[in-house]
Symmetry: C2
Subunit: 306 residues, 2 copies
Protein backbone atom coordinates (compact mmCIF):
# COMPACT_ATOMS: atom_id res chain seq x y z
CA UNK A 1 0.00 0.00 0.00
CA UNK A 2 1.37 3.42 -0.96
CA UNK A 3 1.72 5.86 1.92
CA UNK A 4 -0.67 8.34 0.26
CA UNK A 5 -3.32 5.59 0.34
CA UNK A 6 -2.71 5.16 4.06
CA UNK A 7 -3.20 8.92 4.47
CA UNK A 8 -6.39 8.98 2.42
CA UNK A 9 -7.76 5.92 4.20
CA UNK A 10 -9.02 8.39 6.81
CA UNK A 11 -12.02 8.69 4.50
CA UNK A 12 -12.70 4.95 4.96
CA UNK A 13 -11.86 4.96 8.65
CA UNK A 14 -14.76 7.22 9.57
CA UNK A 15 -17.06 4.29 8.68
CA UNK A 16 -15.44 2.10 11.36
CA UNK A 17 -18.21 0.87 13.64
CA UNK A 18 -16.23 -0.11 16.76
CA UNK A 19 -17.46 1.29 20.06
CA UNK A 20 -17.72 0.53 23.77
CA UNK A 21 -20.57 1.17 26.20
CA UNK A 22 -19.71 4.11 28.44
CA UNK A 23 -21.26 3.57 31.85
CA UNK A 24 -22.94 6.62 33.33
CA UNK A 25 -21.60 6.38 36.86
CA UNK A 26 -18.20 7.98 36.33
CA UNK A 27 -17.45 11.59 37.25
CA UNK A 28 -14.52 12.16 34.90
CA UNK A 29 -12.59 10.60 32.03
CA UNK A 30 -8.85 10.03 31.59
CA UNK A 31 -7.39 9.20 28.19
CA UNK A 32 -3.95 7.64 28.19
CA UNK A 33 -1.83 7.87 25.06
CA UNK A 34 1.43 9.13 23.61
CA UNK A 35 2.27 10.73 20.27
CA UNK A 36 -0.06 9.63 17.45
CA UNK A 37 -2.34 7.96 20.01
CA UNK A 38 -2.19 10.83 22.51
CA UNK A 39 -3.61 13.30 20.02
CA UNK A 40 -6.80 11.21 20.09
CA UNK A 41 -7.31 12.18 23.73
CA UNK A 42 -6.58 15.84 23.10
CA UNK A 43 -9.13 16.02 20.29
CA UNK A 44 -11.76 14.12 22.28
CA UNK A 45 -11.32 16.46 25.27
CA UNK A 46 -12.09 19.40 23.03
CA UNK A 47 -15.11 17.79 21.35
CA UNK A 48 -16.70 16.21 24.45
CA UNK A 49 -17.19 18.74 27.21
CA UNK A 50 -19.91 17.13 29.35
CA UNK A 51 -17.42 15.78 31.90
CA UNK A 52 -13.82 16.75 32.68
CA UNK A 53 -11.43 14.85 30.40
CA UNK A 54 -7.77 14.58 31.35
CA UNK A 55 -5.13 13.48 28.84
CA UNK A 56 -2.25 11.56 30.37
CA UNK A 57 0.87 11.46 28.19
CA UNK A 58 3.32 10.24 30.80
CA UNK A 59 4.17 7.31 33.05
CA UNK A 60 2.49 9.01 35.99
CA UNK A 61 -1.21 9.50 36.63
CA UNK A 62 -2.98 12.22 38.64
CA UNK A 63 -4.17 11.46 42.20
CA UNK A 64 -7.84 12.01 41.35
CA UNK A 65 -8.01 8.92 39.14
CA UNK A 66 -10.25 6.51 41.05
CA UNK A 67 -13.12 4.07 40.68
CA UNK A 68 -15.15 7.08 39.54
CA UNK A 69 -12.89 7.62 36.52
CA UNK A 70 -13.47 6.06 33.12
CA UNK A 71 -10.00 5.37 31.72
CA UNK A 72 -9.55 5.00 27.96
CA UNK A 73 -6.10 3.64 27.14
CA UNK A 74 -5.16 4.26 23.51
CA UNK A 75 -2.10 2.65 21.92
CA UNK A 76 -1.95 1.65 18.28
CA UNK A 77 0.74 -0.97 18.86
CA UNK A 78 -0.48 -1.96 22.31
CA UNK A 79 3.13 -1.82 23.48
CA UNK A 80 3.69 1.85 24.36
CA UNK A 81 5.78 1.83 27.52
CA UNK A 82 4.36 5.00 29.10
CA UNK A 83 0.72 4.05 28.36
CA UNK A 84 1.08 0.54 29.82
CA UNK A 85 2.64 1.84 33.03
CA UNK A 86 -0.01 4.54 33.39
CA UNK A 87 -2.75 1.94 32.74
CA UNK A 88 -1.39 -0.37 35.43
CA UNK A 89 -1.50 2.50 37.90
CA UNK A 90 -5.15 3.11 36.96
CA UNK A 91 -5.90 -0.58 37.54
CA UNK A 92 -4.64 -0.29 41.10
CA UNK A 93 -7.05 2.64 41.64
CA UNK A 94 -10.00 0.49 40.62
CA UNK A 95 -10.92 2.54 37.54
CA UNK A 96 -13.01 1.07 34.78
CA UNK A 97 -10.61 0.68 31.83
CA UNK A 98 -11.36 0.50 28.11
CA UNK A 99 -8.53 -0.30 25.69
CA UNK A 100 -8.25 0.81 22.09
CA UNK A 101 -5.46 -1.06 20.34
CA UNK A 102 -4.55 -3.27 17.40
CA UNK A 103 -2.67 -5.83 19.49
CA UNK A 104 0.51 -6.09 21.57
CA UNK A 105 0.70 -6.50 25.33
CA UNK A 106 -2.41 -4.40 25.90
CA UNK A 107 -4.61 -6.78 23.87
CA UNK A 108 -3.82 -9.51 26.40
CA UNK A 109 -5.31 -7.44 29.22
CA UNK A 110 -8.66 -8.40 30.71
CA UNK A 111 -10.52 -5.14 30.00
CA UNK A 112 -13.23 -4.11 27.55
CA UNK A 113 -11.50 -3.53 24.21
CA UNK A 114 -12.02 -1.98 20.81
CA UNK A 115 -9.72 -3.83 18.42
CA UNK A 116 -8.64 -1.72 15.48
CA UNK A 117 -6.89 -2.73 12.23
CA UNK A 118 -3.12 -2.79 12.73
CA UNK A 119 -1.71 -2.60 9.20
CA UNK A 120 -1.47 1.17 8.89
CA UNK A 121 1.10 3.45 10.49
CA UNK A 122 -0.11 4.57 13.94
CA UNK A 123 -0.40 8.18 12.75
CA UNK A 124 -2.46 7.02 9.73
CA UNK A 125 -4.91 5.32 12.10
CA UNK A 126 -6.30 8.41 13.82
CA UNK A 127 -9.81 7.68 12.53
CA UNK A 128 -9.75 4.10 13.84
CA UNK A 129 -8.74 5.35 17.29
CA UNK A 130 -10.95 8.46 17.57
CA UNK A 131 -14.18 7.36 15.83
CA UNK A 132 -14.98 4.56 18.36
CA UNK A 133 -14.70 7.02 21.24
CA UNK A 134 -16.92 9.56 19.49
CA UNK A 135 -19.46 6.83 18.63
CA UNK A 136 -19.49 5.53 22.20
CA UNK A 137 -20.51 8.99 23.43
CA UNK A 138 -23.13 9.48 20.72
CA UNK A 139 -21.09 12.16 18.95
CA UNK A 140 -20.75 10.52 15.55
CA UNK A 141 -24.17 9.63 14.19
CA UNK A 142 -25.10 9.05 10.56
CA UNK A 143 -25.61 12.75 9.87
CA UNK A 144 -22.18 13.76 11.22
CA UNK A 145 -20.60 10.84 9.38
CA UNK A 146 -22.16 12.00 6.10
CA UNK A 147 -21.05 15.59 6.67
CA UNK A 148 -17.53 14.45 7.56
CA UNK A 149 -17.41 12.21 4.51
CA UNK A 150 -18.36 15.11 2.22
CA UNK A 151 -15.81 17.43 3.86
CA UNK A 152 -13.00 14.90 3.51
CA UNK A 153 -13.79 14.40 -0.18
CA UNK A 154 -13.71 18.18 -0.63
CA UNK A 155 -10.24 18.34 0.91
CA UNK A 156 -9.09 15.50 -1.35
CA UNK A 157 -10.37 17.42 -4.36
CA UNK A 158 -8.09 20.39 -3.56
CA UNK A 159 -5.03 18.13 -3.26
CA UNK A 160 -3.20 20.00 -6.04
CA UNK A 161 -3.57 23.32 -4.19
CA UNK A 162 -2.29 21.75 -0.97
CA UNK A 163 0.64 20.26 -2.86
CA UNK A 164 1.53 23.69 -4.25
CA UNK A 165 1.63 25.22 -0.75
CA UNK A 166 3.83 22.42 0.53
CA UNK A 167 6.18 22.92 -2.42
CA UNK A 168 6.68 26.60 -1.64
CA UNK A 169 7.18 25.74 2.04
CA UNK A 170 9.92 23.22 1.25
CA UNK A 171 11.51 25.16 -1.63
CA UNK A 172 11.93 28.19 0.61
CA UNK A 173 13.10 25.99 3.51
CA UNK A 174 10.46 27.50 5.80
CA UNK A 175 9.58 26.01 9.20
CA UNK A 176 5.82 25.83 9.82
CA UNK A 177 4.20 27.39 12.86
CA UNK A 178 0.63 26.19 13.18
CA UNK A 179 -2.07 27.95 15.21
CA UNK A 180 -5.09 26.07 16.46
CA UNK A 181 -8.41 27.71 17.15
CA UNK A 182 -11.45 26.97 19.25
CA UNK A 183 -13.18 24.52 19.62
CA UNK A 184 -10.46 22.05 18.52
CA UNK A 185 -7.07 23.81 18.81
CA UNK A 186 -5.29 20.43 19.05
CA UNK A 187 -5.57 20.07 15.29
CA UNK A 188 -2.52 22.37 15.23
CA UNK A 189 -0.61 19.87 17.36
CA UNK A 190 -1.58 17.10 14.93
CA UNK A 191 -0.14 19.17 12.05
CA UNK A 192 3.06 19.78 14.03
CA UNK A 193 3.60 16.09 14.74
CA UNK A 194 2.76 15.17 11.14
CA UNK A 195 5.39 17.64 9.86
CA UNK A 196 7.84 16.05 12.30
CA UNK A 197 7.12 12.42 11.44
CA UNK A 198 6.07 12.51 7.78
CA UNK A 199 8.32 15.26 6.41
CA UNK A 200 11.11 15.13 9.02
CA UNK A 201 10.67 18.87 9.46
CA UNK A 202 10.76 20.93 12.59
CA UNK A 203 7.35 22.47 13.26
CA UNK A 204 5.73 24.26 16.15
CA UNK A 205 2.20 24.98 17.31
CA UNK A 206 0.28 27.40 19.47
CA UNK A 207 -3.29 28.74 19.56
CA UNK A 208 -5.29 31.87 18.79
CA UNK A 209 -6.32 33.92 20.80
CA UNK A 210 -3.82 32.67 23.41
CA UNK A 211 -0.83 33.75 21.28
CA UNK A 212 -2.22 37.29 21.21
CA UNK A 213 -1.03 37.50 24.82
CA UNK A 214 2.59 36.54 24.13
CA UNK A 215 3.93 35.49 20.69
CA UNK A 216 2.35 38.52 19.08
CA UNK A 217 4.52 40.80 21.23
CA UNK A 218 7.64 39.30 19.64
CA UNK A 219 6.65 39.37 15.99
CA UNK A 220 7.17 43.03 15.04
CA UNK A 221 10.81 43.12 16.25
CA UNK A 222 12.08 39.54 16.61
CA UNK A 223 14.85 38.07 14.51
CA UNK A 224 14.39 34.92 12.41
CA UNK A 225 10.77 35.57 11.38
CA UNK A 226 11.76 34.91 7.76
CA UNK A 227 12.53 31.28 8.63
CA UNK A 228 8.87 30.50 9.27
CA UNK A 229 5.55 30.12 7.50
CA UNK A 230 2.40 30.59 9.59
CA UNK A 231 -0.78 28.53 9.28
CA UNK A 232 -4.18 28.49 10.93
CA UNK A 233 -5.34 24.89 11.28
CA UNK A 234 -9.04 25.52 11.64
CA UNK A 235 -11.94 27.66 10.59
CA UNK A 236 -12.04 31.11 12.21
CA UNK A 237 -15.44 32.47 13.23
CA UNK A 238 -16.18 36.19 12.85
CA UNK A 239 -14.50 37.21 16.09
CA UNK A 240 -11.29 35.27 15.39
CA UNK A 241 -11.34 36.44 11.76
CA UNK A 242 -11.24 40.06 12.95
CA UNK A 243 -8.30 39.20 15.23
CA UNK A 244 -6.35 37.56 12.43
CA UNK A 245 -6.79 40.61 10.20
CA UNK A 246 -5.58 42.89 12.99
CA UNK A 247 -2.63 40.56 13.68
CA UNK A 248 -1.60 40.69 10.02
CA UNK A 249 -1.80 44.47 10.10
CA UNK A 250 0.37 44.74 13.22
CA UNK A 251 2.99 42.12 12.35
CA UNK A 252 3.15 42.12 8.55
CA UNK A 253 2.98 38.32 8.84
CA UNK A 254 0.64 36.35 6.58
CA UNK A 255 -1.43 33.70 8.36
CA UNK A 256 -2.40 31.02 5.86
CA UNK A 257 -5.95 29.78 6.27
CA UNK A 258 -7.60 26.63 5.02
CA UNK A 259 -10.96 26.44 3.25
CA UNK A 260 -14.14 25.58 5.18
CA UNK A 261 -16.38 22.85 3.77
CA UNK A 262 -18.95 22.38 6.52
CA UNK A 263 -20.76 24.04 9.39
CA UNK A 264 -20.27 21.00 11.62
CA UNK A 265 -17.50 21.06 14.24
CA UNK A 266 -16.52 17.40 13.89
CA UNK A 267 -16.57 17.48 10.08
CA UNK A 268 -14.44 20.63 10.16
CA UNK A 269 -12.01 19.04 12.59
CA UNK A 270 -11.53 16.00 10.39
CA UNK A 271 -11.16 18.08 7.24
CA UNK A 272 -8.53 20.29 8.91
CA UNK A 273 -6.73 17.10 9.97
CA UNK A 274 -6.76 15.65 6.46
CA UNK A 275 -5.57 18.98 5.09
CA UNK A 276 -2.54 18.79 7.41
CA UNK A 277 -1.99 15.11 6.64
CA UNK A 278 -1.80 15.90 2.92
CA UNK A 279 0.30 19.04 3.40
CA UNK A 280 2.88 17.10 5.41
CA UNK A 281 2.80 14.10 3.06
CA UNK A 282 3.51 16.36 0.06
CA UNK A 283 6.25 18.09 2.07
CA UNK A 284 7.90 14.67 2.52
CA UNK A 285 7.64 14.05 -1.23
CA UNK A 286 9.15 17.43 -2.06
CA UNK A 287 11.94 16.88 0.46
CA UNK A 288 12.61 13.45 -1.02
CA UNK A 289 12.28 11.75 2.37
CA UNK A 290 10.36 8.57 3.19
CA UNK A 291 7.23 9.62 5.11
CA UNK A 292 7.09 6.17 6.78
CA UNK A 293 10.58 6.36 8.24
CA UNK A 294 10.73 7.24 11.94
CA UNK A 295 14.05 5.53 12.58
CA UNK A 296 15.15 8.09 15.19
CA UNK A 297 12.16 7.13 17.35
CA UNK A 298 12.78 3.38 17.04
CA UNK A 299 16.49 3.96 17.68
CA UNK A 300 15.65 5.75 20.93
CA UNK A 301 13.34 2.92 22.01
CA UNK A 302 16.13 0.42 21.30
CA UNK A 303 18.70 2.37 23.32
CA UNK A 304 16.28 2.79 26.25
CA UNK A 305 15.28 -0.87 26.37
CA UNK A 306 18.89 -2.12 26.15
CA UNK B 1 11.41 50.34 39.89
CA UNK B 2 13.89 48.73 37.50
CA UNK B 3 12.50 45.81 35.54
CA UNK B 4 15.12 43.45 36.98
CA UNK B 5 13.74 44.30 40.43
CA UNK B 6 10.25 43.39 39.24
CA UNK B 7 11.66 40.06 38.03
CA UNK B 8 13.48 39.35 41.28
CA UNK B 9 10.46 40.36 43.35
CA UNK B 10 9.30 36.77 42.85
CA UNK B 11 11.48 36.07 45.89
CA UNK B 12 9.31 38.46 47.94
CA UNK B 13 6.06 37.35 46.36
CA UNK B 14 6.30 33.83 47.78
CA UNK B 15 5.69 35.40 51.23
CA UNK B 16 2.30 36.77 50.10
CA UNK B 17 -0.30 35.47 52.55
CA UNK B 18 -3.49 35.89 50.49
CA UNK B 19 -5.76 32.85 50.27
CA UNK B 20 -9.38 31.79 49.96
CA UNK B 21 -11.23 28.95 51.66
CA UNK B 22 -11.83 26.16 49.18
CA UNK B 23 -15.10 24.43 50.00
CA UNK B 24 -14.96 20.66 49.88
CA UNK B 25 -18.19 20.01 48.01
CA UNK B 26 -16.97 20.59 44.46
CA UNK B 27 -16.07 17.76 42.11
CA UNK B 28 -13.72 19.65 39.80
CA UNK B 29 -11.92 22.96 39.40
CA UNK B 30 -11.78 25.34 36.43
CA UNK B 31 -9.16 28.08 36.26
CA UNK B 32 -9.88 30.91 33.88
CA UNK B 33 -7.00 33.02 32.61
CA UNK B 34 -5.11 34.17 29.54
CA UNK B 35 -1.41 34.68 28.90
CA UNK B 36 0.56 35.61 32.03
CA UNK B 37 -2.50 34.81 34.17
CA UNK B 38 -3.36 31.59 32.28
CA UNK B 39 0.00 30.03 33.07
CA UNK B 40 -1.08 30.14 36.73
CA UNK B 41 -3.83 27.63 35.97
CA UNK B 42 -1.54 25.39 33.95
CA UNK B 43 1.01 25.20 36.76
CA UNK B 44 -1.66 24.63 39.41
CA UNK B 45 -3.19 21.78 37.37
CA UNK B 46 0.17 20.06 37.34
CA UNK B 47 0.88 20.58 41.04
CA UNK B 48 -2.60 19.79 42.41
CA UNK B 49 -3.85 16.43 41.16
CA UNK B 50 -6.52 15.54 43.74
CA UNK B 51 -9.39 16.70 41.53
CA UNK B 52 -9.60 17.32 37.79
CA UNK B 53 -8.48 20.86 36.97
CA UNK B 54 -9.42 22.41 33.63
CA UNK B 55 -7.72 25.53 32.35
CA UNK B 56 -9.96 27.77 30.25
CA UNK B 57 -8.06 30.21 28.03
CA UNK B 58 -10.90 31.23 25.78
CA UNK B 59 -14.28 33.00 25.75
CA UNK B 60 -16.08 29.67 25.86
CA UNK B 61 -16.44 27.27 28.79
CA UNK B 62 -16.95 23.49 28.78
CA UNK B 63 -20.44 22.06 29.32
CA UNK B 64 -19.46 20.24 32.53
CA UNK B 65 -18.96 23.48 34.45
CA UNK B 66 -21.79 23.53 37.00
CA UNK B 67 -22.63 24.24 40.61
CA UNK B 68 -20.22 21.40 41.43
CA UNK B 69 -17.30 23.30 39.89
CA UNK B 70 -15.02 25.63 41.80
CA UNK B 71 -14.09 28.38 39.35
CA UNK B 72 -10.96 30.44 39.97
CA UNK B 73 -10.86 33.46 37.65
CA UNK B 74 -7.35 34.92 37.40
CA UNK B 75 -6.69 38.25 35.73
CA UNK B 76 -3.95 40.61 36.84
CA UNK B 77 -5.67 43.68 35.42
CA UNK B 78 -9.19 42.45 36.11
CA UNK B 79 -10.14 43.56 32.62
CA UNK B 80 -9.17 40.60 30.41
CA UNK B 81 -11.98 40.29 27.85
CA UNK B 82 -11.88 36.48 27.44
CA UNK B 83 -11.71 35.84 31.20
CA UNK B 84 -14.64 38.15 32.01
CA UNK B 85 -16.83 36.54 29.37
CA UNK B 86 -15.91 33.04 30.52
CA UNK B 87 -16.58 34.03 34.15
CA UNK B 88 -20.02 35.39 33.29
CA UNK B 89 -20.86 32.08 31.64
CA UNK B 90 -19.76 30.25 34.82
CA UNK B 91 -22.01 32.56 36.88
CA UNK B 92 -25.00 31.45 34.84
CA UNK B 93 -24.12 27.82 35.64
CA UNK B 94 -24.24 28.52 39.37
CA UNK B 95 -20.57 27.76 40.02
CA UNK B 96 -18.83 29.05 43.11
CA UNK B 97 -16.40 31.70 41.81
CA UNK B 98 -13.21 33.02 43.37
CA UNK B 99 -11.44 35.98 41.76
CA UNK B 100 -7.73 36.73 41.87
CA UNK B 101 -7.04 40.21 40.57
CA UNK B 102 -5.49 43.58 41.36
CA UNK B 103 -8.53 45.60 40.28
CA UNK B 104 -10.47 46.43 37.13
CA UNK B 105 -13.99 45.29 36.28
CA UNK B 106 -13.51 41.97 38.02
CA UNK B 107 -12.85 43.61 41.39
CA UNK B 108 -16.37 45.07 41.27
CA UNK B 109 -17.89 41.59 41.08
CA UNK B 110 -19.68 40.17 44.11
CA UNK B 111 -17.52 37.03 44.56
CA UNK B 112 -14.88 35.97 47.07
CA UNK B 113 -11.66 37.73 46.06
CA UNK B 114 -7.93 37.66 46.64
CA UNK B 115 -6.69 41.17 45.91
CA UNK B 116 -3.09 41.26 44.77
CA UNK B 117 -0.69 44.20 44.36
CA UNK B 118 -1.15 45.79 40.95
CA UNK B 119 2.07 47.79 40.43
CA UNK B 120 4.12 45.09 38.72
CA UNK B 121 3.79 43.86 35.15
CA UNK B 122 1.26 40.98 34.97
CA UNK B 123 4.02 38.53 34.00
CA UNK B 124 6.13 39.72 36.96
CA UNK B 125 3.22 38.91 39.30
CA UNK B 126 3.15 35.14 38.87
CA UNK B 127 3.93 34.59 42.56
CA UNK B 128 1.10 36.85 43.69
CA UNK B 129 -1.36 34.95 41.50
CA UNK B 130 -0.16 31.36 42.10
CA UNK B 131 0.84 31.40 45.79
CA UNK B 132 -2.71 32.18 47.09
CA UNK B 133 -4.10 29.19 45.18
CA UNK B 134 -1.36 26.89 46.47
CA UNK B 135 -1.90 28.17 50.06
CA UNK B 136 -5.66 27.69 49.80
CA UNK B 137 -5.13 24.03 48.99
CA UNK B 138 -2.50 23.53 51.71
CA UNK B 139 0.32 23.13 49.21
CA UNK B 140 2.55 25.97 50.35
CA UNK B 141 3.31 25.60 54.02
CA UNK B 142 6.24 27.12 55.92
CA UNK B 143 8.59 24.28 54.98
CA UNK B 144 7.89 24.55 51.24
CA UNK B 145 8.13 28.33 51.48
CA UNK B 146 11.57 28.02 53.11
CA UNK B 147 12.77 25.54 50.51
CA UNK B 148 11.45 27.72 47.68
CA UNK B 149 13.10 30.78 49.19
CA UNK B 150 16.48 29.01 49.35
CA UNK B 151 16.15 27.74 45.76
CA UNK B 152 15.27 31.17 44.41
CA UNK B 153 18.28 32.71 46.15
CA UNK B 154 20.46 29.99 44.61
CA UNK B 155 19.19 30.87 41.14
CA UNK B 156 19.86 34.55 41.81
CA UNK B 157 23.42 33.69 42.82
CA UNK B 158 24.12 32.12 39.40
CA UNK B 159 22.80 35.20 37.57
CA UNK B 160 26.16 35.76 35.81
CA UNK B 161 26.08 32.22 34.34
CA UNK B 162 22.50 32.73 33.13
CA UNK B 163 23.48 36.06 31.61
CA UNK B 164 26.34 34.37 29.71
CA UNK B 165 23.96 31.78 28.21
CA UNK B 166 21.51 34.47 27.13
CA UNK B 167 24.38 36.41 25.52
CA UNK B 168 25.43 33.45 23.37
CA UNK B 169 21.76 32.84 22.47
CA UNK B 170 21.29 36.42 21.27
CA UNK B 171 24.77 36.84 19.72
CA UNK B 172 24.22 33.74 17.59
CA UNK B 173 20.62 34.81 16.80
CA UNK B 174 19.29 31.46 17.98
CA UNK B 175 15.60 30.80 18.60
CA UNK B 176 14.95 28.93 21.86
CA UNK B 177 12.98 25.69 21.95
CA UNK B 178 12.11 24.81 25.53
CA UNK B 179 11.15 21.32 26.73
CA UNK B 180 9.16 20.86 29.89
CA UNK B 181 9.29 17.72 31.99
CA UNK B 182 7.07 16.01 34.52
CA UNK B 183 5.59 16.95 36.97
CA UNK B 184 5.41 20.62 35.84
CA UNK B 185 5.99 20.72 32.05
CA UNK B 186 4.20 24.08 31.82
CA UNK B 187 7.33 25.78 33.06
CA UNK B 188 8.49 25.46 29.42
CA UNK B 189 5.45 27.41 28.30
CA UNK B 190 6.27 30.13 30.85
CA UNK B 191 9.80 30.38 29.38
CA UNK B 192 8.37 30.59 25.86
CA UNK B 193 6.00 33.43 26.74
CA UNK B 194 8.74 35.25 28.68
CA UNK B 195 11.04 35.08 25.63
CA UNK B 196 8.15 36.47 23.57
CA UNK B 197 7.20 39.31 25.91
CA UNK B 198 10.46 40.25 27.62
CA UNK B 199 12.97 39.74 24.80
CA UNK B 200 10.62 40.08 21.80
CA UNK B 201 12.02 36.78 20.55
CA UNK B 202 10.21 33.92 18.90
CA UNK B 203 10.33 30.84 21.13
CA UNK B 204 8.62 27.48 21.15
CA UNK B 205 7.92 24.78 23.71
CA UNK B 206 7.14 21.10 23.92
CA UNK B 207 7.69 18.34 26.49
CA UNK B 208 9.83 15.28 27.13
CA UNK B 209 9.03 12.37 26.76
CA UNK B 210 6.13 13.43 24.47
CA UNK B 211 8.54 14.88 21.85
CA UNK B 212 10.26 11.49 21.65
CA UNK B 213 7.19 10.40 19.70
CA UNK B 214 7.34 13.14 17.07
CA UNK B 215 9.89 16.01 17.08
CA UNK B 216 12.75 13.58 17.60
CA UNK B 217 11.95 11.93 14.23
CA UNK B 218 12.66 15.21 12.46
CA UNK B 219 15.89 16.21 14.14
CA UNK B 220 18.45 14.00 12.38
CA UNK B 221 17.44 15.14 8.86
CA UNK B 222 15.44 18.38 9.14
CA UNK B 223 16.62 21.69 7.79
CA UNK B 224 17.01 24.79 9.96
CA UNK B 225 18.18 23.02 13.14
CA UNK B 226 21.08 25.48 13.34
CA UNK B 227 18.60 28.32 13.96
CA UNK B 228 17.63 26.94 17.36
CA UNK B 229 19.00 26.42 20.85
CA UNK B 230 17.37 23.70 22.96
CA UNK B 231 16.65 23.95 26.68
CA UNK B 232 15.16 21.69 29.34
CA UNK B 233 13.16 23.80 31.78
CA UNK B 234 13.11 21.40 34.69
CA UNK B 235 15.06 18.80 36.59
CA UNK B 236 15.23 15.39 34.88
CA UNK B 237 14.96 12.31 37.09
CA UNK B 238 17.04 9.21 36.30
CA UNK B 239 14.67 7.87 33.66
CA UNK B 240 14.39 11.19 31.79
CA UNK B 241 18.15 11.75 32.18
CA UNK B 242 18.81 8.49 30.31
CA UNK B 243 16.41 9.61 27.57
CA UNK B 244 18.11 12.96 27.16
CA UNK B 245 21.52 11.31 26.78
CA UNK B 246 20.14 8.94 24.13
CA UNK B 247 18.43 11.86 22.36
CA UNK B 248 21.73 13.76 22.22
CA UNK B 249 23.46 10.68 20.81
CA UNK B 250 20.82 10.20 18.08
CA UNK B 251 20.38 13.83 17.05
CA UNK B 252 23.74 15.48 17.76
CA UNK B 253 21.69 18.24 19.42
CA UNK B 254 22.73 19.61 22.80
CA UNK B 255 19.90 19.98 25.33
CA UNK B 256 20.85 22.65 27.86
CA UNK B 257 19.88 21.80 31.40
CA UNK B 258 19.50 23.96 34.46
CA UNK B 259 20.95 23.26 37.90
CA UNK B 260 18.83 21.64 40.64
CA UNK B 261 18.77 23.29 44.04
CA UNK B 262 16.12 21.31 45.88
CA UNK B 263 14.34 17.97 46.15
CA UNK B 264 10.95 19.66 46.48
CA UNK B 265 8.68 19.84 43.41
CA UNK B 266 7.26 23.29 44.15
CA UNK B 267 10.66 24.78 45.01
CA UNK B 268 12.09 23.30 41.79
CA UNK B 269 9.20 24.67 39.77
CA UNK B 270 9.72 28.18 41.11
CA UNK B 271 13.49 28.02 40.63
CA UNK B 272 13.05 26.86 37.01
CA UNK B 273 10.62 29.76 36.51
CA UNK B 274 13.04 32.33 37.94
CA UNK B 275 15.83 30.86 35.80
CA UNK B 276 13.71 31.45 32.70
CA UNK B 277 12.65 34.90 33.89
CA UNK B 278 16.31 35.92 34.25
CA UNK B 279 17.38 34.27 30.99
CA UNK B 280 14.69 36.16 29.07
CA UNK B 281 15.35 39.41 30.91
CA UNK B 282 19.06 39.25 30.02
CA UNK B 283 18.12 38.36 26.44
CA UNK B 284 16.13 41.61 26.30
CA UNK B 285 19.13 43.51 27.64
CA UNK B 286 21.47 41.93 25.09
CA UNK B 287 19.01 42.63 22.29
CA UNK B 288 18.69 46.23 23.45
CA UNK B 289 14.90 46.01 23.68
CA UNK B 290 12.68 47.24 26.49
CA UNK B 291 11.47 44.16 28.41
CA UNK B 292 8.37 46.08 29.57
CA UNK B 293 7.18 47.01 26.08
CA UNK B 294 4.35 44.85 24.74
CA UNK B 295 2.98 47.46 22.38
CA UNK B 296 1.90 44.91 19.77
CA UNK B 297 -0.48 43.35 22.31
CA UNK B 298 -1.97 46.70 23.37
CA UNK B 299 -2.22 47.72 19.72
CA UNK B 300 -4.27 44.60 18.99
CA UNK B 301 -6.57 45.26 21.95
CA UNK B 302 -7.08 48.81 20.68
CA UNK B 303 -7.95 47.67 17.16
CA UNK B 304 -10.36 45.01 18.45
CA UNK B 305 -12.18 47.33 20.82
CA UNK B 306 -12.54 50.10 18.21
Amino acid sequence: MEYIDEVLSLIEQIRFKGYFSPSEDFSNIAILGMGGSGIVGQLFREIYTKKPVTVVSDYNIPDFISEKTLVIAVSHSGNTEETIRAMEKCESRGSRIVIITSGGKMSAKDHEKVTIPGELQPRCSLGYMLIPILRSFGLFDEKVEGETNRSLHSVMSIGPDIEKISKSLVDDKKIPVVYGISPTPSVAYRWKTQFNENAKMLAFNSAIPEMNHNELAAMPSCYGLENFMFFIAGHPDGRIRKRVEAMEEITGVEFHEIPVFSGNVIANTFSAILYGDLLTYYAAVHRGVDPRDVSAITKLKRILSS
